[in-house]
């Protein structure tokens, strides 16, 4: 059994904005083991990105975060700024969706990779430059020695994303959090990035948290999957188990909604994702659920293990 790297308990995030308060995440708990690829799946507004950003205090000041997130012996949510600065980019790294806006257009790609090495690991300028070339090679950028002096706008979207990954990996982090890393990329480029991530996990042993709304991407590389809805965990299972025996009606709905050949109609989930201003005292999915009953509308379903290693928060779980 691999060690637990990250242990998040009862994480809640609220936003106080001009428009009112929003409960983005409600008492979410999950763990991440060494070398594991965890897929966090959900549609917009489910809180998946907010969850990860809150771990490293990357949310705007309007956010109120509570709960605990133990990593390397400290609680990330209670850590000091100095401690977080040491962890960000070094032990836990982020890769974002838009590689164009995540890279500084005024500096060469090599310089941006080297900067991380210099700042976090104290490399000299020369050593950092050499290591930068190695890292670009690691992320399979062809001819890295010449690419290193290019500017972001000279690279394609896929290349830029690889650079982002190189920057994220520069300090050999324990965890790589990738938030929709391939959503903005073409299909053929996406395949390459997924291959790369798999390679990283195999060769470097980095644990990866892959946040996405794309169930196909998750099917490709995740070991375990969490399905989120309205800030709560709806279902959690090893990947094969989830796709073969989905239990939560929302997961079943999501899988049924994927376009494919031969069906007359895709499965629709009526209604909309609720925008909550405070935690709902009952099942958040009840209004849209074909299995909802009085109990769903009056109690919050707790996570239960309904099959080996397979958790669901539902009063009426079961594959159809």
């Amino acid at each position: 059994m691999a060690d637990t790297l990250l242990d998040v308990r009862d994480l809640s995030v609220r936003f106080e904005t001009d428009d009112g308060t929003t409960q983005a995440v409600d008492e979410l708990s999950f763990t991440l083991a060494e070398g594991e690829v965890l897929g966090v799946v959900g549609e917009s507004g489910c809180g998946k990105s907010v969850t990860m950003l809150s771990l490293l205090r990357l949310l705007p000041p309007t956010a109120e975060v509570s709960g605990s997130a133990r990593f390397g012996g400290i609680d990330l949510l209670a850590a000091s700024s100095a401690q977080l600065k040491r962890i960000r980019g070094r032990e836990i790294s982020f890769v974002f969706q838009e590689p164009m806006t995540s890279l500084n257009p005024s500096f060469t790609v090599g310089r941006q990779v080297a900067e991380v090495l210099q700042r976090h690991l104290g490399y000299s300028r020369k050593a950092a430059g050499a290591r930068a070339v190695e890292l670009l090679d690691l992320v399979r950028i062809p001819a890295p020695e010449s690419r290193v002096d290019e500017y972001p706008h000279q690279l394609s979207g896929g290349m830029r994303q690889r650079v982002m990954i190189a920057i994220a990996l520069a300090c050999d982090p324990k965890i790589l959090i990738a938030d929709e890393p391939t959503t903005a990329l073409d299909v053929t480029i996406q395949a390459g990035i997924l291959d790369l991530m798999r390679d990283i996990r195999d060769r470097l042993g980095t644990a990866i948290v892959l946040i996405t709304h794309n169930l196909g991407v998750v099917a490709d590389i995740a070991d375990r999957v969490i399905v989120m809805y309205a800030g709560r965990k709806a279902e959690e299972a090893p990947v094969h188990e989830l796709y073969e025996h989905p239990q939560h009606p929302y997961t079943i709905g999501l899988l049924g909604a994927i376009p494919r050949r031969g069906v007359d109609r895709l499965q629709e989930i009526p209604g909309l994702v609720p925008r909550l201003s405070e935690p709902l005292p009952y099942c958040a999915f009840a209004e849209r659920c074909p299995r909802a009953d009085r109990r769903s509308r009056s109690e919050v379903p707790q996570l239960r293990e309904v099959r080996p290693a397979h958790l669901v928060a539902c009063f009426h779980p079961g594959s159809e």
Partner: protein, 344 residues
């Protein structure tokens, strides 16, 4: 009995954009679309698939005349619209409508959704006041929106609702052809499903033809009768949907299909992938001859002529066209074999 005229006939469409001098170098010509031919019959749903830089959106923009084609012809319901002036186009605009990708920017934030949906009706003088109101109400119902929502502004609606408004607007004057440019790409999966179902239902009820432009193969597989695959401004393969997905002939189509992820871990991980080398070449300087040769796993060894000679889109089986030297050669070889085996 003669077959009904095609709703859309595009022949040899070319669109080049002139780009001014940039930081990286002097100005140039973006060869966005370079010789695309396409026909859509009445009630047909045709998918136009391609990645970024393929020129698929430009094709759509040319058909709707948002952009003036550099060369080629576009015929809508038999009328040549390629170089018509704005005024001449106006009455013909009834027949073709467009649905856009971004549900947030495709609706004027300062107009109520009812006014937005009613605008085409008003512009074409089809209905006024009370009958207009009634028409708008029925359109809202047709796309599955409560008619009361017509008094709201776009920012008060969700992405899926806005997309429905966009559809209602496009269908308000009962066009013969709907151009849908990535209409569901910006939506969540479950909302996508409802819009796709809606599109399918509407098409069955109203019988319009549709050109569905997207990068997502799965949507095309679900919705379309025929598919055309584009790469760097050209169509590389075109076939009936079932046939294309079952037996893709062009190496790019094969790569595209194998790269698309499938929501089935066992199947997904068991697949062998065709991996394409390198980046998509810039449309400012597409490769000579076969544009795909720089990334094709087979070109260098098996098709040396692809450096100089461009493969033409030719029919290799009923309703199945491919633009690839290798495929053409194989077909010729097969034909020769057939000839050779025929009794003298």
């Amino acid at each position: 009995m003669t077959a009904p005229p095609p709703v859309l006939e595009v022949e040899g469409l070319v669109k080049h954009f002139h780009v001014g001098p940039q930081l990286t170098g002097g100005g140039g010509i973006v060869q966005a679309v370079d010789g695309v031919s396409l026909t859509i019959g009445p009630g047909e749903l045709v998918g136009l698939v391609g990645e970024s830089g393929s020129g698929k959106s430009t094709v759509g923009n040319c058909i709707v005349r948002l952009v003036e084609p550099t060369d080629g012809t576009i015929r809508i319901l038999g009328t040549d619209v390629t170089h018509l002036s704005r005024r001449e186009m106006r009455p013909l605009r009834r027949d073709v409508h467009m649905v856009f990708q971004d549900p947030y920017s495709s609706l004027n934030p300062r107009m109520t959704t009812g006014a937005i949906v009613g605008e085409p009706l008003r512009l074409h003088g089809i209905a006024k006041r009370r009958s207009l109101e009634q028409r708008v109400v029925s359109l809202f119902e047709q796309v599955g929106l409560r008619p009361e929502l017509r008094h709201r502004y776009p920012h008060e609606l969700s992405g899926g609702q806005r997309q429905r408004v966009g559809l209602a607007r496009a269908l308000s004057v009962q066009p013969s052809l709907l151009i849908a440019d990535e209409p569901v790409s910006a939506l969540d999966v479950s909302v996508q499903a409802s819009i796709l179902n809606l599109l399918r239902d509407l098409q069955r009820d109203l019988g319009f033809s549709c050109l569905f432009i997207t990068h997502d193969l799965a949507t095309v597989e679900f919705l379309c009768d025929r598919v055309a695959v584009m790469y760097l401004g050209k169509i590389v393969e075109e076939a009936a949907t079932d046939e294309l997905f079952a037996a893709p002939l062009h190496p790019y189509t094969q790569a595209l299909l194998s790269a698309a992820v499938v929501a089935d871990p066992a199947a997904q991980r068991a697949r062998t992938r065709v991996v394409l080398e390198g980046d998509v070449p810039s449309p400012l300087a597409p490769p000579s001859g076969c544009r795909f040769r720089t990334r094709c796993p087979l070109a260098e060894e098996s098709a040396p002529e692809s450096v100089e000679v461009e493969p033409l889109l030719e029919e290799v089986a009923a309703g199945h066209s491919v633009a690839c030297h290798l495929v053409h050669r194989q077909r010729e070889a097969a034909q020769l074999l057939d000839l050779a085996s025929e009794p003298a």
